[in-house]
Subunit: 336 residues, 2 copies
């Protein structure tokens, strides 16, 4: 029963600066027999996440480094195809930190069951109802503490987290400005997600445009990028503003430390607060967030958007594209 | 009655890098007659504060820039020698933002009365019971939120604010490590103020010493200096640590922006919080702080220390010495 062919995405070498296809290899193995308590999961969707860049580099960043010549591990949704575990049954839908592969063998502490709803698509469980949704929810609400009428600036605004952050801030009555990397995404943010404004940071007049948009200053800066965009935003902070540090994607491909403006004098002047966001700090409240996010989706106030690429073989390319700014919404790979 | 000679400290030119005596001049004027509601104050002590460097440079920093060829303004304690104001009487002790001069003419919104206590010296009203004390009190207690057993690192630890911060953290049961710039001050901190440890950042093995002292990591980093010392401290932050940004004296004499390590990735990794401290945000609670600080002084748990230089003529030198790390405790000038 278990003589299935299993394709796995292995890390061959640690990326130098931008990751390249040559850092990865698809290797084919067979699936071994299940031992006591083990469960065999067939992958349906892989979540492609920027934080994995740190693990590939060998830098410790929330998680330990990936091993070379071993299968990569990420968030995956799949179905159970065989189980020696009393708690999990064949056919059940699960989510967990699994292999980037057709099949993963896991124990019951690595997965959680998902109870599907008719009106919620499967990819949503890796997007609005997955880590990006939890990150956005607790980041903007708990760390950001938005008040109606305040100005919220969010970077990587068309990305998995940013697009949800902006929509929640709109629900809370804020003026929302999205910063993104293409005119297509600017249009998506303003036309589809109803952000008040959106700016393409690649435009030569971006600094001026940002100043113009933030004529009342910035109350919450939700930072997914770091670097020079963040330096510019710091110029417009209001008194008692909050900076939510979620990601620093502009620096993930740097080999050295991030050198640039230290913003500390500005932070003092503005009585500002900077808060580092680790979504797992809120894991006891994920269920509460899920219920609220589903309600907002059902009310039509929160849109889920995934960018789905077909085929496990394309997982390395999908990962590299994260850093090219190619994706709108959550980047996923659908396993054929 | 008002034909007194009044020496004033004027700003002649904006300092380039380190301030120099040539930036200042003592000018002598006469005291004009008091108009309606005006009050004449004779200065007793001037408070010499690092933040004034920003105002001299013409940089906006909490307060507008000082004008050239005009008298400098700072915190002063004095006695009223004449008054056309019904609320203030000759002989009363007052504190306010007054001229660096023998005499200031003020209105009643510029000064507050001080009710002296027998066991509290006058200089204490510009130290533990003045802005440094308020800054230390709200900075460590409200922004730092210290818990017993936590490790607190404070910079400029022998300075006006740092020495009070460390003593309050000790009262709250923390392990306190002071960073300072001379072996004399290291001894002062450990022997006189009973800090657990103190380090001289000018020693070649400072980075190693800091690592050794912070073997359990840093829970609160109280930052008066910024720059490379802060960069080093960031390496030792604990999960959920708090960085209180009070001053950045290492950068006040820089003409350009502060360039160096951006610490944002570390802050995310550690779910850390950085909070900019403006003491005036807490002005409604100054009375509460005063009562507590007096109680701690009377219990012998909090020492007040001022470095007093005699003579208005020496005010420019006293200011320059702030950046040479010459002072222990609050730097004051006593008017002869």
């Amino acid at each position: 029963m278990l003589d299935k062919i299993n394709r796995q995405v292995h890390l061959l070498s640690r990326p130098q600066a931008m990751p390249a296809l040559s850092n990865f290899e698809i290797r084919t193995t067979s699936v071994p027999s299940l031992k006591e308590n083990e469960i065999l999961v067939h992958s349906l969707y892989l979540s492609i996440d920027p934080y994995m860049r740190g693990r590939m580099a060998g830098r410790p960043f929330s998680h330990p480094p990936f091993e070379l010549n071993a299968c990569l591990i990420g968030k995956v949704i799949g179905t159970i195809v065989a189980s020696n575990n009393i708690r999990f049954k064949k056919g059940e839908l699960v989510r967990g930190r699994l292999d980037w592969a057709d099949y993963s063998i896991v124990t019951d502490d690595q997965i959680e069951k998902i109870t599907p709803y008719e009106d919620i698509t499967l990819p949503t469980w890796l997007g609005v109802l997955g880590s990006p949704g939890m990150t956005a929810y607790f980041g903007i609400l708990e760390l950001g503490q938005p008040k109606a009428g305040e100005t919220v600036v969010v970077t990587s605004a068309a990305g998995a987290v940013g697009s949800i952050v902006g929509q929640i801030a709109k629900i809370k009555g804020c003026k929302v400005i999205g910063i993104t990397g293409s005119d297509t995404k600017v249009e998506y943010l303003t036309q589809q997600l109803h952000f008040d404004m959106a700016l393409n940071y690649k435009k030569p007049n971006f600094a001026e445009d940002l100043k113009h948009c933030c004529d009342k200053g910035i109350d919450i800066y939700f930072d997914n990028v770091g670097g020079t965009i963040t330096d510019l935003a710091m110029l417009h902070l209001n008194k008692f503003s909050r900076i939510v540090l979620c990601g620093q994607i502009s620096t993930y491909n740097s080999e050295g430390p991030d050198v640039g403006l230290r913003h500390f004098r500005t932070l003092i002047l503005k009585s500002a607060t900077v808060k580092g966001l680790v979504v797992w700090d809120f894991k006891d409240r994920f269920e509460e967030a899920k219920i609220q996010l589903i309600q907002w989706m059902r009310e039509g106030r929160l849109q889920s958007r995934e960018n789905i690429i077909e085929g496990l073989d394309n997982a390395p390319k999908a990962f590299i594209d994260l850093f090219n700014g190619e994706n709108i919404g959550k980047q996923l790979v659908k396993i054929s």
